[in-house]
């Protein structure tokens, strides 16, 4: 029979539709047939999820064969003939596991996300470029000594990445590229600089001036100074101050002053200029402290085994794959284990056979704003300095789509200080250490070789940004810490939290702190050192301005309390402390709430709600364990307290404070029961005192908690039902993310869990510096970026429970090559396979 015409037409339609959806499908739909092809399509991602028992590759530039063995946790151990070869191999294995992450992170820093994901990312790219990051990187590149060992290492790493990209088959394409219908670009050495600039943005972007202006606009300059003070209200500094307990500032808080309208206008301008980057500030967009890290070390005398112990616990955004990539590099004089940033050829946090090190963010003020005068407000070409017009540098930024076509342009203006932006009719320029000097990868390459803590600190002396509290311990038992980075010196009062007059060159930075002045300590008498982003040095010891509005010291207080109480510290103690559910914050505020409730109940004994609330809170053990059913009441009471206490900071027409001062300021206010700040000005005819506000907050918290979670005792009150960790995939696809993870810890605990749960411990590590160095660690995910791989999230369990895994640090490759054989990869120079 002759085929029917309808079937012929139907066949044409079927093939046409499939062809269209496969070749010209509108984004974001991936091309249908290529996507579903069982050999080259998305299903190939499953085949790449498994490490083959043996694999081989070629890497141009290798001087000899390099071997890579993967241990049971999926961590690569690189054994190479030379250091450059080791970094080439590191580039290769990083690309093999994290290619999409390499690409995405770099593009985010370069302001070229639109070239990967299309115009949807234009706003993000514009913010990045307006900050001046790409320009700064380009200028840094011009100053690079291309003959230096560091740059040769960057190039070697780049060679490794490109060798992997060049050797990729269609089936090797990571899932994300398939979803986006994109291809990876070849890697350039400059991408490493972009990536490091991105870390600068993550860790050192904090427009402190904005918060202060917003407060000054409402309650005047003097009150703003006190609320967001350069002197933290509770002193538990990184550099030991000789005290055995935290010191709470007893200076009375000045009363609210008259609103400062000039500050209000400037706050509006600055807020408008920085709005797109609010979430990057350590205060987060909702006033929620988003990032926090801990590290501590114990001298041999205070450990059970008489070896120095070091614990590292940097907190960053939680992502899948993890922000870190763990690796062991062994080549010649190099033998180092730790975590690398995918895109940067260096072990950032880790240990070698002699020294272990880790960081927390210093949070120093390294970014300033200047109010500029320009020749033409709408389209300026010059700006005024000391009565002379200087030309503005104009840089045209071009944004390309996924096909490489320019679809948008804008112009960023620069003064000699940095990028200048118009906001609210004003022009503000910015100076920022991250834009000033290159982050020297050389320092990280050097420290991998350090033989002692002193040598390590010496190597780190030239480190510029982002400023870090660098903790180091060595096998001889030395422990040391130093807040290291470029700390600007400023004219007159030295303050960096004010917008300065850009028309005067006298407003400019006058230099930077010498290393000898950096806060720090070495082998202190107390036998331990700890940092948790708190103010590094007690202003009674050094009052030079380093920053303001310091993060609350709750984690620092807790870890110091734990370390003071433990004179026989063990590895398990260190590990357990990292997820300790205790809270210095609760220890301080719960008694205050209860005392206030009892005072108020004495006058109003029939207040049954307050009575119940006090009973419930009083029964709390002040621990944020997963099954705890009282922490939620305390958290709601704290929220209510801030809302009632800071009524002076609520802008007209709003219902929430524009800025929430640190909770340590509230702790100091507890000692001033009659302070005018306690009065809630919204209640006319009544003047509240401390106990009134505390009791009212507790009472309201119980009502809110019942409305939200039901009666006390209800399962919904369990902490694990209230607060979760959420680890999102880089593309924020929920099915590739790990969400609603039950974790121990709450706001202010050593493993803080608060807000959206999207930030947290990014790498936990404990190292014992005995005759043989032993390490334990875990990542919030795994080594692979392939969601189908067991190595995508195989460490999540130990991360959630805080158990840590033993880190395998073999002396030579034979241990891994012998039975049972580990998956291996042999990398050879071209033509020598």
């Amino acid at each position: 029979m002759i085929p029917s015409k309808p079937r012929f037409i139907l066949a044409l339609v079927v093939l046409g539709v499939i062809g269209y959806l496969s070749i010209a499908a509108p984004k974001p739909v991936p091309p249908l047939a290529p996507f579903l092809d069982p050999v080259r399509g998305v299903w190939a991602v499953a085949r790449n999820a498994v490490l083959p028992q043996t694999a081989a590759g070629t890497v141009p530039g290798l001087t000899a064969q390099a071997r890579v063995f993967y241990d049971l946790r999926g961590v690569p151990h690189v054994f190479a003939a030379s250091e450059l070869d080791a970094y080439r191999a590191l580039g290769y294995v990083t690309a093999r596991d994290r290619l999409f992450q390499l690409d995405l992170q770099t593009r985010a820093a370069a302001g070229t996300l639109t070239e990967l994901v299309g115009p949807v990312a234009l706003g993000v790219d514009q913010e990045t470029r307006a900050l001046g990051l790409p320009r700064a990187v380009e200028r840094q590149l011009l100053g690079v000594d291309t003959a230096s060992e560091a740059w040769r290492t960057v190039e070697a790493y780049s060679d490794g990445i490109n060798a992997y990209i060049d050797g990729m088959h269609a089936a090797d394409l990571p899932l994300e590229y398939r979803l986006l219908d994109a291809r990876p670009a070849r890697w350039k050495p400059v991408n490493t600089l972009y990536l490091l600039a991105r870390m600068g943005l993550t860790l050192a972007y904090d427009p402190e001036e904005l918060r202060r202006l917003r407060v000054a606009a409402l309650v005047g300059d003097r009150a703003a100074d006190a609320l967001l003070s350069p002197r933290a209200a509770i002193q538990e500094p990184i550099e030991p101050n000789g005290q055995t307990a935290p010191r709470i500032d007893s200076t009375p808080l000045p009363p609210p002053g008259a609103p400062d309208t000039a500050a209000g206008a400037l706050a509006l301008a600055l807020g408008s200029a920085t709005r797109g980057l609010d979430a990057l500030s350590r205060h987060g967009s909702g006033g929620d402290v988003t990032l926090g890290s801990n590290n501590w070390a114990v001298s041999p005398a205070r450990t059970r085994d008489k070896f120095a112990l070091l614990a590292g616990d940097p907190h960053l955004d939680l992502t899948l794959p993890s922000i870190w990539y763990a690796a062991h590099l062994s080549a010649g004089g190099l033998d180092v284990y730790g975590v690398t940033l995918p895109g940067a050829p260096a072990v950032t946090i880790g240990f070698n056979r002699n020294v272990a090190w880790t960081f927390t963010n210093t949070g120093a003020d390294v970014m300033d704003f200047y109010a500029e005068s320009v020749d033409v407000a709408a389209h300026p070409t010059k700006y005024l300095v000391d009565g002379t017009w200087r030309p503005l540098e104009q840089r045209v930024e071009r944004y390309r789509d996924t096909d490489g076509r320019v679809f948008a342009t804008d112009t960023v203006l620069y003064t000699h200080r940095g990028p200048m932006r118009r906001a609210g009719g004003r022009w503000l320029s910015m100076r920022w250490t991250v834009l000033d000097r290159p982050m020297m990868i050389a320092t990280f390459l050097q420290i991998a070789h350090a033989r002692s803590a002193d040598e390590w600190l010496s190597d780190m002396s030239t480190y510029a940004w982002p400023a870090q509290n660098m903790l180091v311990a060595d096998r001889s038992g030395t422990i040391a810490i130093r807040s290291t980075g470029t700390f600007p010196m400023r004219p007159d009062n030295g303050r960096g939290d004010i917008v300065r007059d850009g028309t005067k060159s006298a407003s400019d930075w006058t230099g930077s702190w010498p290393v000898s002045r950096y806060p720090g300590a070495r082998n202190p008498a107390q036998g331990f050192l700890a940092s948790a982003n708190q103010q590094p040095v007690d202003p009674r010891m050094d009052s030079t301005y380093l920053g303001a509005d310091w993060p609350d010291p709750w984690r620092a207080m807790r870890i110091n309390a734990l370390l003071r109480a433990d004179s026989q510290a063990t590895v398990d103690d260190m590990r357990n402390d990292q997820t300790d559910p205790g809270s210095a914050r609760a220890d301080l505020f719960v008694p205050a709430f209860l005392a206030a409730a009892h005072t108020v109940l004495a006058a109003t004994p029939n207040d049954s709600v307050l009575h119940d609330a006090a009973d419930l809170l009083g029964a709390w053990d002040r621990r944020y364990t997963e099954d705890n059913e009282r922490a939620v009441l305390f958290e709601m009471a704290m929220r209510e307290l801030a809302r009632r206490l800071w009524d002076e900071l609520i802008p007209p027409g709003d219902s929430a404070p524009a800025v929430r001062p640190p909770e340590s300021v509230i702790a100091a206010l507890l000692q001033q029961p009659s302070s005018v700040w306690w009065d809630d000005r919204r209640t006319s005819g009544t003047v509240e005192r401390r106990d009134d506000i505390l009791a009212a907050s507790l009472r309201a918290a119980l009502g809110d908690a019942k409305r939200r979670y039901g009666e006390p005792g209800n399962d919904n009150w369990r902490w694990s039902k209230v607060q979760h960790a959420n680890i999102y995939h880089l593309l924020e696809l929920p099915s590739l993310s790990r969400l609603n993870i039950e974790v121990q810890g709450g706001p202010g605990t050593l493993s803080p869990s608060s807000g959206s749960g999207r930030a947290g411990p990014s790498w936990r590590m404990v190292v014992q510096m005995g005759p043989d160095v032993h390490g334990w660690g875990t990542l919030p995910g795994g080594e692979s970026g392939n969601p189908a791989s067991g190595r995508y999230d195989n460490m999540l369990r130990s991360w959630r429970t805080g158990t840590l895994d033993a880190l395998y640090f073999p002396l030579d490759s034979q241990v891994l090559a012998g039975p049972p054989r580990s998956p291996s990869l042999t990398l050879s120079p071209p033509g020598r396979r």
Binding site: A11, V14, L15, P38, W43, A46, V50, S735, P787, A788
Partner: protein
């Protein structure tokens, strides 16, 4: 029963073709098979064979790779069970093969309209 051998043959050819070349090979191979051996193959059989070939490759993959986990992750993205995406892959292969075969049938009929082309029409 006599259709089993050509079906298995077609399945093997589709599988090999898929290993060797990207997806457009399916309708092309389907058309060629129908043109070369019109008595042995029908569009329906070729569709089933292509689906079986892709399904077989996927089944083989599950023996050594976490295809089930991947399917579940992908299904989550589009809010479908992972098995639905596997089924969609099989369906796409079948549709490509059927379309190619039907077009070949039309071409062949146009070239020699008196020829009886195949059994199931």
């Amino acid at each position: 029963m006599r259709d089993v051998k050509p079906f298995l043959l077609a399945t093997c050819i589709f599988a090999l073709a898929t290993w060797a070349a990207p997806w457009p090979v399916i309708p092309v191979v389907s058309a060629v098979m129908l043109l070369v051996a019109p008595r042995a193959f029908s569009p329906l059989m070729l569709a089933c064979a292509a689906g079986a070939a892709w399904g077989g490759i996927l089944a083989w993959t599950t023996l050594y790779a976490p295809l089930g986990r991947l399917a579940a992750e992908l299904g989550g993205i589009v809010h479908l069970p992972g098995a639905a995406l596997v089924a969609l892959s099989v369906a796409v292969a079948a549709a490509l093969a059927w379309g190619g075969a039907e077009l070949a049938l039309a071409v062949r009929a146009r070239a020699s309209p008196s020829v009886v082309v195949h059994k199931d029409n």
